[in-house]
Chain length 364, copies 2
């Protein structure tokens, strides 16, 4: 699959070390701009670091702009991709298509302004401007350089009717509402008449707020939004996205389960959008027997979830939140277009990030 | 929930550090033998360390009996439970009920010989014999001491018709066949007539072999067993559990996917029972669009699974293998009673372990 020839749609021909693994699992990729026939070359305009990676970088460097810039540039120079070596996660990017190989199946043309829908953790990337336009305060990083898309690296043309930073923030988390909608719709089909109760942990965040409206549209009977503070509760109430807002620490399993029960739970579907470790037990205890927990947080521990559910004899289905669901990008963009409450939350967060005020509890 | 009173069915009253978390997530438990009203006191006879923990202990200590004994005793003395601090996992135990609190809902009576079906990682435990009866070579550890069961700590009375070590080995992995059966049955219902193809990675192991027969009984059309070596392939063929045996390294995603395709795949359901890291990408690539991957391996990385599936635009459902499914213990014991091929594999493995010959690739 490597060497001369058509290239691998998975990008295996770009893997330098270790041999034989997928680009996401690789330590180092070949990010040279010479295209294989089925690849696409993108002129990068902006990186969107994922929340877990951004937080780690800020804590490790102290958060100053020079240190943040240097660390991201160092990682990309070393690995040929922006994959945080501590969190394993990446983010996504926007840019303009510069060249589309003759064998590319992506349907992109030079000049298209696009966002990638695959993680930066598998996207070959070169940074050429030292990130001088970045103040280190926002996950959205102005950036010059180039990136490579493989045959199976999905991307979407940015919508003309939404501001770029808004579209980028929505597309970054677009897997969550799509999968939430699917799971809630299945639960509604099984429930035999009674519309399922859905609890969203981190409901005022980006993936969380999108998931609340996706759940309602998919047939949820009652949507419970869990947030960590009174301030977020006020924001979520004002947005009018959920039937009940409760304040609870998602890391305190007993308090969380009691709060969800008090608000009409336990939930048939619990959606975890809180990007801090230690929420597995509480999510399981908040979920009814026969129900489903969907973990979108990159801070989820596989072992803690598996042994935690077994340890309390909880018959719940636990899903690893797959960031890819067909149609996820259009679904998420449509939700933001049609739900002023969600759009308002996104715009407020983008504005906060631009001003350098970070909310205490970030979502994926 | 703590202090005087009826005790928490989750065992919260036994958590010493840190406060407020579930026993599984706790660093240290109170393992004193004085019972709360809904608890059960068990005289321990045998611990069954989980494969990931046993392997880690063997590698860290060199595998000698004195070092293995000392390390397990040290962990249990320090934490009040046998939870390997590196892997986070535990195992299970067998013993005899010594006292059943007046408020215990478990239905156990003094003298019952039982196996716990919750992890050692949340079970208060005291070892009193220094594990002098253990040669350090087997996951099954003769042990004297006591353990505590909470109101929600499920346990099962050991069957009279099966040897103790066999029953213990089966019960240790009984969540896998139960959940596999459920998922395959759902897939068969959805398929609309065509029986689903099921691939089991690590099919000659304990959880793997049980999963193959559970899959067939749940309506699988074709069961593909993947093993890492020709020796295991011969064993699996002789046992007659699967339709096709293929040899592949589950950590090599491209080779694994090609092998599964060559054997009649991609799979509608892929079951991961291989207890080594790095199998996420191969499992995803071996699974058909719309299919399901069930991860039972404690070596699974949440991030690698989530980003790996997204990175190859794979629309697959990924399940965290919950060790608890109602009826799981009886189902697994019945499979061993009715399927001589499975029983033979288990007996051979137990005999190998007793002789100190460890297979190269262990299952959960």
């Amino acid at each position: 699959m490597t060497g001369s020839g058509p290239g691998s749609p998975l990008g295996l021909h770009r893997v330098l070390d270790p041999a034989g693994v997928l680009p996401q699992a690789a330590w180092r990729l070949d990010a040279s701009p010479a295209l294989w026939p089925d690849e696409v070359l993108v002129r990068v305009e902006r990186l969107n670091l994922d929340a877990a990676s951004f937080r780690q970088l800020r804590e490790a460097t102290g958060g100053g702009a020079p240190a943040m810039r240097a660390e991201v540039c160092r990682i990309v120079a070393e690995r040929g991709k922006m994959q945080n070596p501590v969190t394993g996660s990446g983010g996504m990017l926007t840019g303009v298509v510069e060249e589309s190989g003759p064998g590319s199946p992506l349907g992109l043309a030079p000049g298209d302004r696009i966002a990638t829908l695959v993680s930066l953790s598998l996207t070959p990337l070169v940074i050429t401007d030292g990130l001088t336009g970045w103040d280190g305060r926002s996950e959205q990083v102005p950036c010059r350089g180039h990136a490579i898309l493989f045959g199976r690296s999905i991307a979407t043309v940015l919508p003309a009717d939404l501001p770029g930073p808004l579209a980028l923030a929505v597309l970054d988390v677009c897997g969550a509402p799509a999968l939430t909608g699917r799971v809630v719709s299945q639960a509604a089909g099984r429930a035999g008449g009674s519309a399922p109760v859905v609890a969203v942990l981190g409901a005022a965040g980006k993936s969380g707020s999108l998931s609340t409206v996706a759940a309602r549209r998919a047939g949820a009977g009652r949507v419970i939004g869990v947030v960590p503070s009174e301030a977020e509760a006020a924001t979520l109430r004002a947005a009018g996205l959920v039937d009940e807002v409760v304040v609870a620490d998602a890391r305190d399993p007993v308090a969380l389960a009691a709060a969800v029960r008090g608000a009409g739970g336990p939930a048939a579907v619990t959606v975890v959008c809180v990007d801090v470790p230690g929420c597995e037990g509480g999510a399981v205890l908040s979920t009814a027997d026969g129900g489903t927990v969907v973990f979108f947080s990159m801070a989820t521990s596989f072992t803690a979830a598996a042994l935690g559910a077994e340890g309390v004899a909880a018959d719940v289905t636990m899903l690893i939140g797959n960031g890819y669901v067909p149609g996820h990008a259009q679904l998420a963009l449509d939700l933001v277009r049609r739900e002023p409450g969600v759009r308002g939350l996104f715009e407020a967060r983008i504005s906060e990030e631009t001003r350098g005020n970070r909310p205490g509890l970030e979502e994926k």
